[in-house]
């Protein structure tokens, strides 16, 4: 193995170029999508016996409703077929909600104006269900409008399900899951997730500096963690996996996984004095590659099974980890190893 002989510093070019590309992909174009748990919206997953034609279903749904950001993905595997329907909002329903919010906020100051808005809200909701204001006035009317809006929302979900069911002849008790996140809640989750990620980053920096107490190696380990997350984000952007409450844990997890190999490498190069540093690097690579390989093997099993059975949560987690592990292979052995070797050899020359 002559991996780290010669001008190993040239390896650094690869992670540097990739960093630039990844940054572009993540932050400029196409960018990472936010999942509905973070921006609000509705997701309906339906399991079917036969493959569902996503294009046809999309046309059917758009003919009846006015969706904002509707995406339909149909999945078929040897074991199951199904379809994931996701949208941010529906135009008429949004109007009903806006009128309802207006009614609520105006109620204290101008109750007659509020009543007009509440009635408007009800008439928008009427697109989905039949309901009247029952001659109510004042607060009761607003409560009624709220109730009708909720019902309209669920009626929309029901209609989506029944359109899918009748056009693709699904059985009566088909498997389904629905998820609905109000935009305000999504925003709160997003803010929370940002705080948590920031706190985690600070925590990692403290831990790494505490264990290694040398500037360049510590920075290299921390950068490796960041590069892994960046790789995962870039590949998520390219494959259309959204940033969500499922993929965020996967990203955090990734840091734990990837830092393992970096810590191994750093410890062996800095703290051990046997053989030459280059040989120690190659030894570490043997151990490190086994580690990454076992993880890749386990995650691939997760990926394949969750695809076959359409367990979206697990599929996203597995895909994100897998992406990150590829990044880790690059950053550990093409960036971290050369930097550390250079650092150790230079120290030796100085001494």
């Amino acid at each position: 193995m002559e991996l780290f002989s010669g001008n190993y510093k040239l390896y650094l070019i690869v992670p540097v170029i990739l960093t630039i590309i990844f940054l572009f992909v993540v932050f400029v174009s196409p960018g990472v999508k936010q999942g509905i748990d973070l921006k609000g919206g509705t997701q309906i997953i339906i399991r079917a016996e036969k493959p569902v034609d996503a294009v046809k279903l999309k046309a059917l749904l758009e003919e009846k409703f006015e969706f904002n950001d509707l995406s339909i993905n149909s999945i078929s595997s040897p074991t199951t077929n199904g379809v994931t329907i996701q949208f941010e909002s529906e135009a008429t329903l949004t109007k009903a909600k806006e009128e309802l919010d207006l009614a609520k906020s105006l109620f204290e100051s101008n109750s007659s104006e509020a009543e007009i808005h509440a009635r408007n809200s009800i008439s928008f909701s009427n697109k989905f269900i039949e309901a009247t204001d029952e001659g109510l006035t004042g607060k009761a009317l607003i409560e009624k409008a709220d109730e009708i809006y909720s019902k309209a929302k669920d009626a929309l979900h029901g209609q989506i399900k029944s359109i899918t069911q009748s056009n693709f002849s699904l059985s009566q008790d088909f498997f389904f899951s629905t998820k609905e996140v109000p935009p305000v809640l999504g925003k709160t989750f997003w803010d929370n997730a940002l705080i948590v990620s920031l706190a985690a980053l600070i925590g990692i920096i403290i831990v790494i500096f505490f264990f290694f107490r040398e500037f360049i190696p510590s920075v290299a380990v921390i950068y490796a963690g960041i590069f892994d997350v960046l790789t995962a984000l870039a590949l998520m952007a390219l494959t259309g996996i959204a940033l969500s409450l499922n993929s965020i844990p996967a990203l955090l997890l990734l840091i734990g996984y990837s830092v393992d190999t970096d810590i191994l490498l750093t410890t062996r190069l800095l703290k051990r004095k046997d053989k030459t540093p280059r040989q120690r690097a190659i030894d570490s690579m043997k151990t490190g590659l086994t580690m990454t390989l076992t993880t890749i093997a386990a995650v691939s099993v997760m990926l394949i099974l969750s695809y076959m059975y359409q367990i979206e949560v697990m599929f996203n987690i597995a895909a994100v980890i897998l992406f990150g592990l590829f990044g880790d292979l690059i950053v550990t052995w093409m960036m971290n190893a050369p930097i550390l070797l250079w650092y150790v050899e230079r120290k030796k020359v100085k001494a």
Partner: protein, 541 residues
Amino acid sequence: MRDLFKNWKILLLLVFLFLSLLSISFNGLKYGIDFEGGTQFQIHLEKPLNSSEEVAQVTSIISRRLDWTGLKDTKVTAFGNEFIIAQVAETDPAQVERIELLLKKQGKFEATLEGKTVFSGKDILHIYKDSAKGYGIIQQQEGFEWHLPFLLSEEGAERFTEMTFHKCTISGFDQSTGRTYECEKTYFFIDRPEAIVLMPPVMHSKDKDALLLGNFAENIPQGTEIEELLLNAQTPLILADSNISETDKNTLINYSSEFENIIVPLGVYPEDFLLDLNALGFKVNQVESEQNIPWIWTVTGAKEVISLSEDVTNMQPYVEELKDAKKYSELVIRGFGSGQDDALTKLSNLTIILESGSLPIGVESIGKETISPNLGSEFLSVVSLMGLLALITVLIVLFVRYREPRLVIPMGFTLLSEVIIVLGFASFIKWNLDLASLAGIIAAVGTGVDHKIIISDELLRKESDYETSLVNRVKRAFFIIFAAAATSAATMLPIIFFGFGLGKLVGFAITTLAGVVIGVFITRPAFSEIAKYLLQSKKEN
């Protein structure tokens, strides 16, 4: 081999393994809606709550509110001071929507006497929650007495005085206290339904007996009569087996102008019978019956039966004419608890009822997720299969790399122990396992494999490489392991401390962290001992 079992690190592993299996077999594993099916509501409050007491109060109000609807297996947990997560087994969209409305709206409280409303939620101006006004528990000789004082509006107090006037009769004479009285009872309802109740005669007589017997936990006093309950609930009752007689049909038709809804027990009547009711113009609401609680008590929304007392009825002191009656606007409800805790629970439950289950802080928004039970149970079996296959795959990779069963077998054993101990921990803290927390376990096991590879590679390095004892090599491996574990902990702890509302993330973080801690302190030390022993014995052979 015997030496190995004397090693405390291995004994520690075995002890934890045993305790975990014990915990799993006694407590069982609890699954979230991902696996059981059901609906999870994420309730975001308008403003953060100020204290842990407030959090507990809001949680218990929501929990009560769900219980009142006859829902079973509801779980309500607070995340931080701004989020409440409520989990119910219901997946039918119409029912889920009903629950969502219920969580948003406050309930309607009514106290009735002889079938007429004496006062309702809007008559209650204030509930005095300070001990100066008598709120709280007093220890008496016979047990713990609780007092709940509240203030009625002018109009409410007037109606109360008028309706309760002389509603007691003298029942006897007591040496120490003077006369004793037998007074009429008021019935407390939350969201009393405007509906007809239809049930089979068998069930009616069962409920009748159960009501007479009383139910302490449900606040049903002994000797409650079904006729009186129905009179107070103002719900007409029709008894019918699986076919409706002509007379019943006519009665129903008469009612149809007044009532829109009809309540029937779930799963008792055949489908076409229910369709007949629909044809008569009724919306049918099927309500499940719970064991030990009379069904009729649940469906009428009855919550409490409270006796009037001689003073408020103007019997003691005796007032001859209604026009001279003393008007009581400040009323006190009293009751006994078998113990202090019991009295406290009774008091707080009744307070929630009088407050109509309304939250001290409004609900900003509700998110919800429903998973059908059939999908959930499939998920569970697939995930189990996934775990098993992942473990086997990892072991195959390890075998290819090391070609040393002496190493791979203890690796497999300790990995499996790790999974069992994390599951044991989850069952011990009664954590609801969902997809994310199982992903956390897989994650922890994943780092476990990595660390065992580090230990093995240290141990297997050729003697000539560097003169150092096996003990030192293990030490070196553990430096790496500790550093790596500390990094994982640093990523997970912020989620546990600041990840409020990120329910799924918290589950993931808890299982990952538990796995990491268990790995570092229990399974990995044990593995290094086993590996050391096996490798040494190999050398000796």
